[in-house]
Every structure is written in structure tokens, then in C-alpha cells.
């Protein structure tokens, strides 16, 4: 962790960096509410997958399989948009 940081003489100019990915940067810790998926009532409409701004609805073989809690920020859009009655995604307060 204590690797020496480059000074201004060696730092790449332009503030141009190698392409990064948020994959390694876990933002799920910001969450105050988490989405809970009910597989039994889910109709696999994929609306939550389309609506999720953080690509945190996980999908396998064309089917919704749950959430990537490392990156889900708990915005609740998936739960809001879920069209089933009762909802197949509900928000729960994160336990401390």
C-alpha cells in the first residue's frame, strides 16, 4: 500500500490514465437499503436489468439471478420498476 507515488516530473501528463474499471472498486458500501429478490414471483421481464444504473442485476443464460451487492448502491429503481404484484424486488434497510 505504501508504494511511492510519482512526482510531477514523472507523472503522465494530461491527467490521462490507463483505462480503469469500477469492477475492482466496490461501491456497495454506500448502500443504506438493499434490494431483495423473490425468485418465486419474478416473471423474468428483465425491466430491473434494463433500469439498473450500476449494472448490478446479475444475469445468467438470459435469466435474472440476483444482485451484485459489491456494486449495487441501493437506489431502489429496480424495486420501483418491478411490475409484478406483489413486487418481486423489495428494499430492506441495511443492518449495521
Amino acid at each position: 500500500m505504501s508504494e511511492a507515488k510519482p512526482g510531477w516530473k514523472s507523472l503522465p501528463e494530461n491527467d490521462a490514465l490507463a483505462p480503469g474499471t469500477a469492477d475492482k472498486f466496490h461501491t456497495g458500501g454506500w448502500r443504506s437499503e438493499k434490494p431483495i429478490w423473490n425468485e418465486k414471483t419474478c416473471i423474468q421481464c428483465m425491466i430491473c436489468w434494463i433500469a439498473c444504473p450500476d449494472v448490478s442485476v446479475t444475469v445468467k443464460d438470459g435469466k435474472m439471478t440476483g444482485f451484485d451487492y459489491d456494486h449495487c448502491k441501493g437506489c431502489g429503481i429496480c424495486a420501483f420498476e418491478c411490475p409484478t404484484k406483489p413486487k418481486s424486488i423489495v428494499m430492506e434497510t441495511e443492518k449495521k
Binding site: K5, P6, G7, W8, L11, E13, N14, D15, A16, L17, A18, P19, G20
Partner: protein
């Protein structure tokens, strides 16, 4: 070499036509409106290949310039006064990302009170945003400076956005005889931009403009300062190359009858031309008057100015913008700092003048030269041309 009758705005638009930038994003504002208006007609008439983006504000104009420049395009824009002020938020982003955007700014007073005429308060307020700033005395210099600005901004050791200014109305709307390069010569001189990175290059992806906090922001800012300091040599190098092609000599500043002067003024822009007339008149009467006309305000050539003024006993610095009870106008404070601690320095006073386009007369400049004879009795910070 074509000889044309052009206003300052037309001269800058003509330079832009020859430069044929990839992208121009602009929003019209008096007195710079014509520059992009004329250029837009070049686009409409198919005389240039430019992608012209008529945005909804100057904030958007500079934002579009940043995006296009980050994509690797050669980008130009033009503005003035409040328009430049609306760009302020984006100007330091352009320099921090080292994007060589080229801007023509027609110097105009910052409102309020609302005013559309010349002073330098617009670009002076932008002096700490990491942009190279080059002033022009007349339409010829506006044309020449804009052509050179492309090379300066895009020089691989510089990579800083550059603004070339003219005095609102006095130069922007005054028709003069200018000499231009042939289109082919201009095209050859400016060459093509060779960007080191492009956000559209999917083979070599980069992250540009990432969050830069306590641990890296400072280093990036020092890089801008260092590039600015180093740009002096490349500005001179490009000026020499331009001189070879055109016979017109450019430097960081022009010394007009300065070497043996006993009284001298320092001025920017069109006032330098008026001062030359007074210097000639005084010289004919045996008064050793001189002028230092500063061309490059950023980077500020402190050592060079200190050397040029070392043997002049009395100097008045003319500021066409005020710092409102700072220690003089911005040009004065820079020059006084440049001289501080030097073995040989002139006595120095400051005049703030010409705000909001207030006319600058030969008589006023004669009075300033006369004041220099009694410089010991003068306060440091003065005004001329204002009613008391």
C-alpha cells in the same frame, strides 16, 4: 503574399479559414460576434472542412471544445467579456487536461455596469487558468498571432490552450491593411495536430479527467506551471520560423526606442500603437522616450522584462483593467514583482486607464510621459482619463 483590407475580426476569421480547424464551437457575443459569424459562412460555403457547433452558451462552447480536443481534433473558438466569463469554469479544465484549444478573445469590459467596449478585464480575470495569453496591437498582429497560436498550443512540449486577444472595437472593428500568408503556406505552417491521446481511439483507451484528489492534483497543476514556463522558448522558436516565412518579427515583447530611453511606458494592445505616435513626437523634440509593448502576458516573461527595463530610469505601466485597490493593475503588479530584488531597476508607477472603452488620447499619454519626469512625487497607483 496577399494584401487585404480587413478589420481585426475579419483578420482573425481569415486566419481561422486558413487554419481550417476540425471543430469550432462558439456562441456569438459583441464585439467578437463577427469572428465566428464570418467563419460560420465559410463553413456554409464549403470553404473549410470544419464541424461547426452552434451551441447554446459559452459554457457549452468551451465544454464542446474540451470534448472535441480530447478526441484529438484541432479546435478553435472565439468570445469576449461575459462570454469568456461564462467559460471560466471550463477554461482550467482545458489546461489541466492539456488540450491545445485555440481561442480568439476580443477584449471587452466585464459588466457591470453593462458595457460592450474595450478593456482587458475579461482576459485578466482568466490569467490564472493555465492559458497562454497573447495580445495584439492591430489586425495584422491578430492574424499573425492566431496562426502562430496553433503551433504554440499544440507544441508537444507545451500542450496548453492559447488565447489571442484584440482590443474590442478599436481593433476588432477597425479596418486596416494586412498581409496574409497564401493558403498553402498557412496550411503548411500550422501542419496537422498530432495528439498523444484520443478518447475516441478504442485501440488505446484512456481515462481522461479522472478524480484527482489530495494525492495527485498538486502534481498535475505543477506540470501546467512548468509547461507554461517552458513555453517561452517554443513561442520564440515558432516566432523565428514565422519571421523567416513572412519577414514579420515577433518576440515576447516589442522594444520600441527602449534601449536608450529615459522615460518609458509599458502597454498592451492597441494603446501601444497610440504610444508609439507619442514616442516619435517626443523623440523629435529630443526627449528620450520609449515603449515596451508586451505581447505575451502568459507565460509572463519576467526575467526578460526586468532586463529590458533595467537601464530605463522611469517607467509607467499602463493597465487597461483594475484590481480595485490591489497593489495596482495586474500588469503593474507582475512587472513590479519581476523587478523586485534586481540590482538595477527603474522607478515604476502604474496608471489604470481606458476602462469600458474610455478613449485614450495622445494628450493623456503626453501627460503620462511628463509625469515620469517628476516620478519621485508621484504615487505608485494612478488613473488617467477618468473624471474626478
Amino acid at each position: 503574399m496577399p494584401t487585404l483590407a480587413k478589420t481585426g475580426n475579419e483578420a482573425m476569421a481569415e486566419a481561422m479559414r486558413q487554419i481550417n480547424p476540425d471543430v469550432v464551437a462558439a456562441y456569438p457575443i459583441t464585439p467578437a460576434t463577427e469572428i465566428v459569424m464570418i467563419f460560420a459562412s465559410f463553413v456554409a460555403d464549403g470553404l473549410v472542412d470544419t464541424e461547426y457547433i452552434p451551441v447554446e452558451s459559452e459554457h457549452s462552447a468551451m465544454s464542446a471544445c474540451v470534448g472535441a480536443s480530447a478526441a484529438g481534433a484541432r479546435v478553435m473558438t472565439g468570445t469576449s467579456s461575459q462570454g469568456l466569463a461564462l467559460m471560466y469554469e471550463i477554461l482550467p479544465i482545458a489546461s489541466a487536461l492539456r488540450l491545445p484549444i485555440i481561442m480568439s478573445d476580443v477584449n471587452r469590459a466585464i459588466s457591470g455596469p453593462i458595457n460592450i467596449h474595450c478593456d482587458h478585464s475579461d482576459t485578466m480575470a482568466a490569467r490564472d487558468f493555465g492559458w497562454i495569453q497573447i495580445f495584439s496591437e492591430n489586425a495584422q498582429e491578430a492574424y499573425d498571432n492566431l496562426i502562430q497560436a496553433v503551433r504554440i498550443a499544440e507544441h508537444p512540449k507545451v500542450k496548453l490552450p492559447t488565447m489571442v486577444t484584440t482590443d474590442g472595437f478599436i481593433i476588432s472593428h477597425c479596418m486596416e491593411k494586412i498581409e496574409t500568408l497564401e493558403d498553402t503556406e498557412a496550411k503548411k505552417f500550422v501542419g496537422e495536430r498530432k495528439p498523444e491521446v484520443s478518447v475516441l481511439d478504442i485501440e488505446h483507451p484512456v481515462t481522461l479527467g479522472a478524480l484527482d484528489l489530495q494525492d495527485y492534483y498538486f502534481e498535475h497543476k505543477v506540470q501546467v506551471a512548468d509547461a507554461m514556463r517552458n513555453s517561452i522558448q517554443y513561442i520564440l522558436e515558432i516566432a523565428r520560423e514565422y519571421e523567416k516565412q513572412t519577414g514579420r518579427k515577433y518576440d515576447l515583447f516589442e522594444k520600441y526606442q527602449l534601449d536608450d530611453a529615459e522615460v518609458a511606458l509599458v502597454a498592451l494592445g492597441s494603446t501601444a500603437g497610440t504610444t508609439k505616435a507619442v514616442v516619435d513626437e517626443l523623440r523629435a523634440k529630443g526627449v528620450k522616450a520609449g515603449l515596451l509593448k508586451l505581447r505575451v502576458f502568459r507565460p509572463f516573461p519576467a526575467e526578460e522584462i526586468a532586463k529590458a527595463l533595467a537601464n530605463v530610469p522611469a517607467v509607467a505601466v499602463l493597465d487597461r483593467s483594475d484590481s480595485y485597490n490591489g497593489q495596482g493593475g495586474p500588469l503593474f503588479t507582475e512587472i513590479r514583482s519581476a523587478l523586485y530584488g534586481k540590482a538595477k531597476t527603474p522607478k515604476l508607477i502604474n496608471y489604470v486607464y481606458g476602462l469600458g472603452g474610455r478613449d485614450v488620447t495622445l494628450d493623456e499619454l503626453r501627460t503620462v510621459f511628463a509625469d515620469l519626469k517628476k516620478i519621485d512625487q508621484m504615487p505608485a497607483y494612478n488613473y488617467f482619463g477618468v473624471r474626478e
